[in-house]
């Protein structure tokens, strides 16, 4: 049952991501990407990593892809996007190279059968608890660093986006708008 | 009757007038308002309403009756006059039914108008009402005595204008007025009321039905809703009707009329003519004009196949036969067809007039008769008609004849073979000559004899006249006063006295007199004619001669035309002619007409191998006269416009012309192309006026000015007795209200196509009779006509299918054999 589900998910995910890459339609690309994300969470569930699965759902599907979609709304989704490929072989080479590298990186330990859990799961701990244990012991430092980095990024984002936020064009009359344009 | 120009002042306004004009007419001509209910412009004052009271030089006079004098100062209203007028209006409103809501006159009612104008807002007088019912006086007249205000306009117009005198005032049976009113109310109002309370209008022959020509003029002049046309009663309201100024096309009078139209009913939105109205102050209509309006060719659509056949027929045609019920424009189109296609144009009545006019022109140098009937009516006081059946041929000529007798205190001669009992009733000074057909020339000789300076006449004429004269003796009875002395015994004293008295005594005496054989030949009493004529000639200044259709169809028309020209010059008479049919004069002026011929005939409202017809019976439909725009040439020598009252969806003659490549965009585009060398003017149709001004001036189209023609020396031929017709005679003459197929189609005109004869003759003939002419025969019902006298029978020609013209040939009289019919 589990292998069947895995292969099913794997094929679907690959197919959907292929659609994402190949489709000229923004809407299809975006939708299939989101669908792929949902199916990836399925893989997590198969592995018993419920928490990660749901996080995958919430973060990627619920948040990241929604922000993507938000950006996509600036396009005319009814029209196809013509991509310009100046050097298609370069894209192919780089993309292929990265893919191969990733496969090698992840496959190597399995091939070498040297995978060991440095911190074996604590017996009795539920899924989120296990994640928590790992995060707050071995990976505490990277976790906190990542948090700080995210905080920095967030503050930077707010500052960048918040520039001139107090200026409301709809609250200004025409002369004031013209003035602001001149200054800019 | 030339009159002097004078100046009077009315309400401070200086007015030009002519001596003898009534103050009211002067005021009206100058736009000054004087209320008047009973007065009719062209009739004698009735003095029934007394509301036209004015002060002229500080004296109260009735303005309808008082003649203007030079320098007169007239005040139309002051307090006393207004009080009097108001009292009169109040009296008129006493017992007048408050049914304005349903009254047919409501909206154009003079009682309403004057009641409002004079501010009657309360009623001070009262009297018990008398029940007065409604009556249908004839097939067209409807009288509601309850609404009648006894202004007697109807009586006046019937007598003074129409000549029938068919109605009069009769007893009403109302209560006498309260004596107390005599003291309290204004004098004029009291006497008016007194009269009002006593009378209603009744037929003058003592029966319940009028014996008249059913012209309906009385309904037109009625100021209230009392007299109405029967078919119009409670049909619609005056204000809903759309007035379309037009011209009546039934006879050559070309009277000005208004078609009054409205949608037919709730279900049917098509326009329908509800009635015909006229400007009755300036123009009187006949029964045909007033009631014969619904002859339209309705529900016609453009049928292309029929149209194509018509084009082919016109191309193929040798002859186009048409009658005079046609506009000038159409006549011009036909003439164009003749010029371009070489067809022959056949129209017997117009052709007769055309040749007569040509003969007249050759003799007199004038292209057309010099005078018109309007002037004759206004100015002449001695009118003579020759060769026209006055009562039937043209109602307006009859009105002219009658009006001259009544208004101008005139006299008249009526020469006609068919006796008419109505004509003598027109006036005391009317002499009728019931001569034999063919003796028309003698009539002209009589006129020359009586009115011309004999020395100035051509020798032949003079000799002919003289040959009829002889000196004869006659026995006259004279009254002589004889002085008689008798002895009388005084009853009281017993004394005898000699009394001398003058006693009248009739004495017979032989006197010599100038016997006029002409008069005798024409069937009059030659013995007393001289005295009669002397009486007739008293105070006569202006003479007029009216010639009719008999002469155009006369075998010696040419000679008659010469005699007419001679009468005009030698006697100083006005001369006018009666065109036989509607637009005969226009056709005669516009078309070159041909004699009857053989060939392929296209008939326009006439029978033919291919018939264009506005009657709805032809091969291609044409618009009837109330669906057409165009002009007519009237007998008053005017070109007058007429308008379409009812929609027409089919083809017109102009479309046919367009189909042949000869047309113009619209029919009325031809109006400006009417030939100027024949008296027409190059005026656009839309520029032609059609109405009257307040002073009665006619602003309708334009007068013809036919250029003079070269005079040709021609001798008058001697009278030939051989042309006098004897034996059983028929006369081509229509009943009073029938003129053509269109009048026949109208639902309110009932005169049948039958043989008309005097009552005695009708009894002799039986109910149905076969009339055998030289060229064919005809079976007809016999109708007794009270007004005819003599043995000659009348056969109508208003049904074109019967082809009466062919039966009669080139004469209006025919010798016929009458057999009892089945």
């Amino acid at each position: 049952m589990i292998p069947f589900a895995f292969y099913l998910f794997a094929i679907l995910i690959t197919g959907l991501f292929l659609v994402t890459v190949m489709s000229k339609n923004v809407l299809y690309a975006m939708t299939s990407l989101a669908a792929g994300m949902v199916l990836i969470s399925g893989l997590f569930f198969i592995l018993g990593a419920d928490f990660l699965g749901v996080v995958q759902l919430i973060v990627y599907v619920g948040a990241v892809m929604a922000v993507y979609a938000f950006a996509m709304m600036f396009f005319d989704v009814t029209r196809d996007v013509e991509e310009r490929h100046d050097k298609p072989w370069l894209v192919f080479l780089l993309g292929g190279g990265i893919a191969v590298t990733l496969v090698v990186i992840f496959a190597a330990p399995i091939m070498g059968e040297t995978v060991h859990a440095l911190y074996p799961p604590v017996a009795g701990a539920t899924n989120p608890q296990a994640v928590g244990l790992v995060l707050f012991t071995k990976y505490l430092l990277p976790f906190e660093v990542a948090s700080v980095m995210l905080l920095v990024a967030m503050i930077a984002g707010i500052i960048l986006a918040g520039k001139k936020m107090e200026i409301s064009l709809s609250a200004m009359d025409e002369d004031m708008i013209a003035d602001t344009k001149e200054h800019a | 009757m030339m009159s002097k120009n004078i100046t009077i002042t009315i309400d401070g306004i200086t007015c030009q007038a002519q001596e003898g004009d009534f103050i009211l007419n002067v005021a009206r001509a100058h736009g000054i308002f004087i209320p008047a209910i009973c007065y009719l412009t062209r009739c004698s004052p009735t003095l029934a309403c007394r509301i036209c009271l004015v002060e002229a030089d500080d004296k109260r006079v009735y303005s309808c009756n008082a003649k203007a004098k030079d320098g007169m100062n007239v005040i139309t209203q002051n307090e006393a006059i207004l009080e009097e007028r108001r009292a009169i209006m109040e009296v008129y409103d006493v017992n007048h039914p408050l049914q304005c809501g349903v009254c047919d006159q409501s909206g154009e009612c003079e009682l309403q108008n004057y009641t409002l104008e004079l501010g009657v807002d309360a009623q001070h007088y009262a009297i018990p009402d008398t029940k007065r019912g409604t009556a249908d006086w004839s097939t067209v007249l409807h009288y509601d005595a309850g609404l009648c205000i006894v202004c007697e306009r109807c009586v006046t117009v019937c007598k003074d204008m129409i000549g029938d005198a068919a109605i009069k005032t009769g007893p009403r049976g109302g209560d006498p007025l309260d004596k107390a009113y005599k003291e309290t109310m204004p004098k004029d109002a009291y006497s008016m009321w007194n009269k009002l309370q006593k009378s209603v209008i009744v037929p003058s022959n003592g029966t319940e039905y009028t014996d008249c020509s059913d012209c309906g003029e009385c309904t037109a002049v009625c100021p209230v809703g009392a007299l109405t046309e029967q078919d119009f009663v409670y049909q619609t309201n005056a204000w809903e009707l759309k007035q379309i100024p037009a011209t009546c096309a039934h006879c050559s009078s070309g009277c000005h009329i208004y078609y009054e139209t409205k949608h037919t009913s709730i279900e049917n939105p098509e326009e329908k003519i509800y009635r015909v109205k006229n400007e009755w102050n300036y123009q009187s209509l006949c029964g045909a004009g007033r009631f014969g309006y619904d002859y339209q060719n309705s529900h016609v659509t453009k049928e292309k196949p029929a149209f194509d056949r018509a084009i082919a027929a016109v191309k193929k045609a040798d002859i186009i036969r048409f009658n005079s019920v046609i506009t000038n424009e159409e006549a011009l189109m036909l003439q164009t067809l003749k010029e371009k296609q070489g067809v022959k144009l056949v129209n017997p009545e117009a052709r007769a007039l055309q040749s007569f006019l040509r003969y007249y022109g050759e003799a007199s140098g004038q292209g057309i008769y010099p005078d018109d009937f309007k002037t004759i009516m206004k100015e002449s006081d001695f009118v003579i008609t020759v060769g026209t059946k006055l009562r039937n041929d043209n109602p307006n000529v009859r009105y002219v004849f009658n009006n001259i007798q009544k208004m101008n205190k005139g006299a008249g001669f009526y020469f006609h073979p068919v006796g008419d009992t109505l004509i003598p009733t027109f006036g005391k000074s009317v002499a009728t000559f019931e001569h034999k057909p063919g003796e028309e020339e003698l009539a002209m000789y009589v006129i020359l004899d009586l009115f011309a300076n004999r020395e100035a006449l051509p020798e032949l004429v003079r000799k002919t006249i003289e040959s009829y004269h002889s000196t004869r003796t006659k026995t006259v009875t004279e009254k002589v006063m004889e002085t008689v002395t008798t002895t009388q015994v005084d009853p009281e004293t017993g004394e005898e006295k000699e009394v001398t008295k003058k006693v009248p005594k009739t004495v017979k005496k032989e006197v010599e007199y100038d016997h006029n054989g002409l008069v005798e030949a024409l069937g009059a009493d030659a013995e007393n004619f001289g005295d009669l004529f002397d009486k007739m000639m008293k105070k006569k200044e202006s003479f007029a001669l009216i010639l009719g259709e008999d002469l155009y169809f006369h075998p010696r028309a040419e000679n008659l035309a010469r005699l007419a020209a001679l009468v005009e010059t030698a006697c100083g008479m006005k001369l006018a002619m009666v065109p036989p049919k509607s637009n005969s004069l226009g056709v005669a002026l516009l078309c070159d007409l041909d004699a009857e011929a053989e060939g392929y005939v296209v008939g326009y409202n006439e029978p033919g191998d291919f018939a264009l017809s506005a009657l709805g019976t032809g091969d291609l439909d044409m618009p009837a006269f109330n669906q057409q725009e165009g002009t007519l040439t009237t007998m008053n020598k005017r070109v007058v416009p007429t308008n379409a009252a009812i929609e027409y969806g089919g083809y017109e003659l102009n479309d046919l012309m367009n189909g042949l490549g000869l047309g113009k965009t619209l029919t009325i585009d031809w109006t400006a192309s009417l030939p100027t060398d024949r008296g027409f003017r190059a005026v656009d149709f839309d520029a032609l006026p059609n109405g009257y001004t307040n002073d009665g001036q006619e602003h309708r189209g334009y007068p013809l000015d036919v250029p003079a023609v070269p005079k040709r020396a021609s001798e008058i031929e001697a009278f030939d007795e051989g042309i006098i017709l004897e034996g059983t005679l028929a006369y081509r003459c229509n009943p009073q209200r029938q003129f053509n197929d269109f009048t026949d189609k109208s639902h309110q005109i009932f005169e049948a196509f039958a043989l008309y004869a005097s009552p005695a003759r009708a009894e002799e003939l039986g109910e149905r009779v076969v009339v055998e002419f030289a060229k064919g025969s005809l079976e007809l019902d016999v109708i007794a006509e009270e007004r005819i006298s003599g043995a000659i029978v009348e056969i109508p020609d208003f049904v074109s299918d019967k082809n009466i013209y062919a039966l009669f040939g080139d004469n209006r009289y025919a010798t016929v054999t009458l057999r009892k019919g089945s």
Partner: protein, 207 residues
């Protein structure tokens, strides 16, 4: 009079009252404070209270507003001006319309048409009388101008039908002869005035 007078199109009673609203906060902190204040003062609950109260009133105290229209109808004002009615004379039952055509003339929508004829009793009879309700604007002029009080506006306001003609025939508008007793008339403009009898002076009609 100056032009301002005309430019002031505020034709109401001008009876405006300033609500003592707090000034709109401009700073973020101010806005936050406003939210907190409003939240804590439980203004929102007032709205909930109102709706709940209305519901309870409706359900428990029968104060439901709904009228189930085609099945129940609200009483209409006695002088409501809807579909026309043609009245009859109370004494004889004959229709009052005399066919004078005033309504036809005055109708601004040209909706009225009538055919009349000379009746057998020598009166003006109305052959047919129609009002085109597709055009009628219910202005009431016809009723106002009618000299006989023959045409009035009635209370029939349901004018949907398969055919426009459904209401407009004379017979349909006429008071049914069996309901003559219940024909109602109202005093007011256009009707006979209350003191009409005393106002009429002595006229011939008095005899």
């Amino acid at each position: 009079m100056s032009l301002e007078h005309f430019k002031n199109r505020n034709v109401g009673t001008q009876n405006y009252r300033m609500l003592d609203l707090d000034p709109t906060p401009v700073t973020g902190w101010g806005q936050f404070k406003q939210v907190v204040r409003r939240s804590l003062s439980l203004e929102l609950l007032v709205g909930l209270k109102v709706t709940l109260r209305e519901m309870l009133k409706a359900l428990l105290f029968g104060k439901m507003h709904t009228t189930k229209y085609p099945f129940e109808k609200l009483p209409i004002g006695p002088r409501y001006r809807a579909i026309h009615e043609m009245k009859r004379l109370l004494e004889s039952g004959h229709y009052r319309c005399i066919g004078c055509g005033l309504c036809e003339k005055i109708c601004p929508a040209d909706a009225i048409r009538m055919d009349t004829h000379y009746g057998e009793n020598q009166r003006k009879e109305v052959s047919e009388y129609t009002i085109n309700f597709g055009r009628c604007i219910f202005c009431g002029y016809c009723a106002e101008v009618c000299p006989e009080l023959a045409i009035v506006h009635g209370g029939r306001y349901e004018t949907a039908s398969e055919q426009r003609a459904s209401f407009s025939l004379f017979e349909d508008m006429l008071t049914p002869i069996d309901q003559l007793k219940s024909q109602r008339e109202f005093p007011g403009y256009g009707s006979v005035s209350v003191n009409a009898d005393t106002n009429i002076k002595k006229t011939p009609l008095a005899y």
